[in-house]
């Protein structure tokens, strides 16, 4: 009895440490940077980081729901690009009502995501890696064709608003320094937390990721769930695109290049299992912040971007290693040993 209690406490401690691993790394990184550069721990810089995190924040959320079902969305960067291009075309060249343009952008993202989902569930392509690798190139190409490979600039104020505005127009007040894009991101993250934990579809996403066969046998419409996550991913990409468009006042055809890398990195660092079924919004949020702080901090220290890439890679490996230690790997080894014993 005593022994069991003891076990529980150790287990809980282990659980706590492993769950907060990325958070600990984030805090250590912040402390390190605060000592290393006097301009890091200033409100302007931290809010600057918040603004820079918004784009990857949205993409990572979309990526996360895909990975939760043991899938992946490699097209997320160019889904973003294509939805911004179509939004910009409507706004700048066709003169469509700007609010409608925003909706068109989001709708485009959702449709592009739907294509990804249908390729997977209706065309039965074996793995979303393949379907989204294909659409990544297709979306990129369509974007280049539509724009004639030149950027579209001069967005109406409404389209730029979400990505460029601050909470208050008074720049000297505290609210005037908080980027709207970050606040929207926080709200969307909160909504997602509720969505994943308390709605049927949200729980089904975990179930499908945990074990697709069991999920199917227990009456979950697996195809619907798997298609939905790519639609969600597309919508998130479009939202990220709206933020980027606001920041750059333009939609340009190569804007999505390699953005999927940072999104996958944030999700993985945040503790989402690559094999699906496990992961949470808070973890992804931490992952997004960790990457944003890392890049910002290393920029402040004038570390070359080549070196930054190496650090990011290292952090991904360590984060996944923690994930292996935490659950999957060791438990599986234990189970296998048990089965061996039973067989003998």
């Amino acid at each position: 009895m005593d022994n069991k209690n003891n076990n529980n406490i150790t287990g809980k401690a282990a659980e706590l440490i492993s769950k907060s691993g990325p958070l600990v790394a984030l805090i250590l990184l912040c402390i390190f940077l605060a000592f290393k550069n006097e301009n890091f721990f200033t409100s302007t810089n931290l809010l600057n980081v918040a603004r820079q995190a918004a784009l990857n924040g949205f993409l990572s959320l979309g990526m996360m729901v895909c990975i939760l079902t043991a899938g992946i969305d490699l097209s997320i960067g160019y889904t973003m690009t294509l939805s911004t291009i179509i939004m910009a075309k409507c706004a700048v060249e066709a003169g469509v009502n700007p609010v409608l343009c925003l909706l068109i952008g989001i709708l485009t993202g959702g449709l592009l995501g739907l294509v990804n989902g249908l390729l997977l569930t209706k065309c039965k392509l074996p793995h979303p890696f393949i379907s989204t690798l294909g659409t990544q190139n297709i979306y990129k190409g369509i974007g280049l064709v539509i724009t004639g490979a030149t950027p579209i600039a001069g967005m109406p104020a409404v389209v730029k608003w979400a990505g460029s505005a601050f909470l208050s127009s008074n720049q000297d007040s505290f609210l005037g320094k908080i980027p709207l894009s970050f606040v929207i991101m926080l709200i969307v993250y909160a909504l997602f937390s509720v969505f994943l934990n308390y709605t049927t579809l949200g729980r089904h996403i975990y179930a499908v990721g945990g074990n697709i066969n069991t999920a199917g046998l227990s009456g979950i419409n697996v195809d619907f769930v798997r298609t939905s996550v790519y639609v969600i991913s597309g919508v998130m990409a479009a939202l990220g695109g709206i933020m980027l468009t606001g920041r750059t006042d333009s939609a340009y055809p190569l804007s999505g290049n390699l953005l999927e890398n940072d999104a996958i990195a944030a999700v993985i660092i945040g503790g989402t299992s690559f094999f699906g079924g496990k992961g949470n919004v808070l973890g992804t949020f931490t992952g997004v912040l960790l990457i944003a702080v890392l890049r910002n901090g290393l920029n402040l220290l004038n570390v070359s971007s080549d070196m930054q890439t190496i650090f990011l890679g290292g952090i991904i490996i360590v984060a996944v290693f923690i994930d292996v230690v935490r659950g999957g790997g060791f438990k599986r080894v234990k189970r296998m040993k048990k089965e061996e014993k039973a067989a003998a």
Binding site: L28, L55, L301, V303, S305, V325
Partner: protein
């Protein structure tokens, strides 16, 4: 029980490793600039003291002069990317100017020229790092306008090099140093035209479609060659990659065996095109590249490539920093400062190269090859 303990140990070591990585990561990368930063720290301190005293006296130009003598300016140069010889030459020029004037110059840039979001972040981070001036080679003339607005909002002088921003608002930058890529491309096209006869077939191999630099370099040459009566039979992208350029050039030679010239929008692609030309045993094909890299200079010296359009990257970085310091010292500078373009060929190569190597050696920057 035993297993649990083992797991906990592994966990802890994992977290520690993460922490260490974050810790040693930063310090490792900072090694090179550590001593510089330490030295400049004290300088910055005295500078703020100067600034305070002067603002009391209400004379700003005074403080600028003192700043110069103290060598306390912090200038960040942000390249389109730091992934090629070209940008390392810009880096060399900027560092050389920093050495000569005794100012601290940091040179950074994203991993790829197409990565505009990262470049915008770098500009914002430099502003937050309270640098005195920013020298920028924008990798997306439209997208970086917003970053320039941020710089202006912080009252930091912005010197543009290499590429102009796509804006009519001239107040966004203090001055521009560089050749338009389009004009430089024109000169490359004119060189080819001077070697060929009207009606000859030429092809253009260009960088990634959608990258403004390559759009301009290609368009300039195309215009010049068409004006000279040459027939441009193909304009095809090879994504600035030597291997892809070989394939592209081979295909063009297949469909146009009587091709007379290849113009590529960077030297790597020109070298690739030359490979294809040599493999097809064509002897009279003029191959012209762009950038004037060392590989290309070797090739020209060996009588392979005919020429390379050199935009003087060292001079670009050098003038960028020189102008930034002038502006900080309160001097007025020309808003538009065109730089010469040299079409490097066997005649002017030797002198150009000696001079270039001397300046790079002096700057202390090591190039890749």
């Amino acid at each position: 029980m035993k297993f649990r303990r083992k797991m906990l140990a592994m966990l802890l070591s994992g977290v520690l490793a993460a922490g260490m990585l974050a810790g040693c990561g930063g310090s490792g990368g900072n090694e090179s600039s550590d001593s510089g930063a330490a030295a400049s720290d004290t300088e910055t301190d005295t500078d703020t003291a100067d600034g305070d005293a002067d603002s009391g006296a209400g004379d700003t130009s005074d403080s600028a002069e003192e700043g110069k003598s103290g060598g306390s300016y912090k200038i960040t140069t942000i390249c389109m990317a730091l992934n090629s010889d070209y940008w390392h030459m810009v880096e060399a020029g900027a560092k050389l100017a920093g050495k000569e004037l005794g100012v601290e110059v940091n040179v950074i840039g994203p991993n790829a020229e197409s990565d505009s979001a990262t470049q915008i972040n770098m500009v914002e981070d430099a502003v937050n790092n309270k640098v005195d001036a920013i020298v920028l080679a924008a990798n997306e003339p439209t997208a970086l306008v917003s970053a320039a607005t941020t710089v202006k909002g912080a009252d930091i002088p912005l010197v543009l090099i290499d590429t102009k921003l796509n804006t009519d608002d001239e107040s966004l930058y203090s001055c521009f140093v560089g050749t338009g890529n389009k004009d430089a491309g024109r000169q490359g096209g004119e060189f080819i035209a001077s070697k060929l006869e009207s009606g000859d077939k030429v092809a253009i191999i260009r960088g990634t479609v959608g990258q403004t630099v390559h759009d301009d370099r290609g368009a300039g040459a195309e215009e010049a060659m068409e004006e000279a009566g040459l027939e441009v039979v193909a304009v095809q992208p090879a994504d600035s990659d030597r291997g892809k350029a070989v394939d592209v050039a081979e295909n063009i030679i297949q469909s146009n065996p009587d091709i007379k010239a290849f113009y590529a929008t960077n030297d790597d692609m020109a070298l690739g095109a030359y490979q294809a030309v040599a493999a097809a045993n064509l002897t009279d094909v003029v191959v012209v590249g762009f950038d004037g890299t060392f590989n290309a200079m070797d090739s020209i010296a060996n009588g392979e490539m005919a020429a390379s359009v050199a935009q003087l990257p060292v001079e670009e970085g050098y003038q960028g920093v020189i102008n930034a310091v002038k502006i900080l010292d309160g001097e007025t500078v020309e808003k538009d400062q065109p730089l010469d373009v040299v079409v490097l060929n066997e005649e002017n190569l030797e002198e150009f190269r000696t001079d270039l190597e001397a300046r790079i050696a002096e700057s202390g920057v090591k190039l890749g090859n």
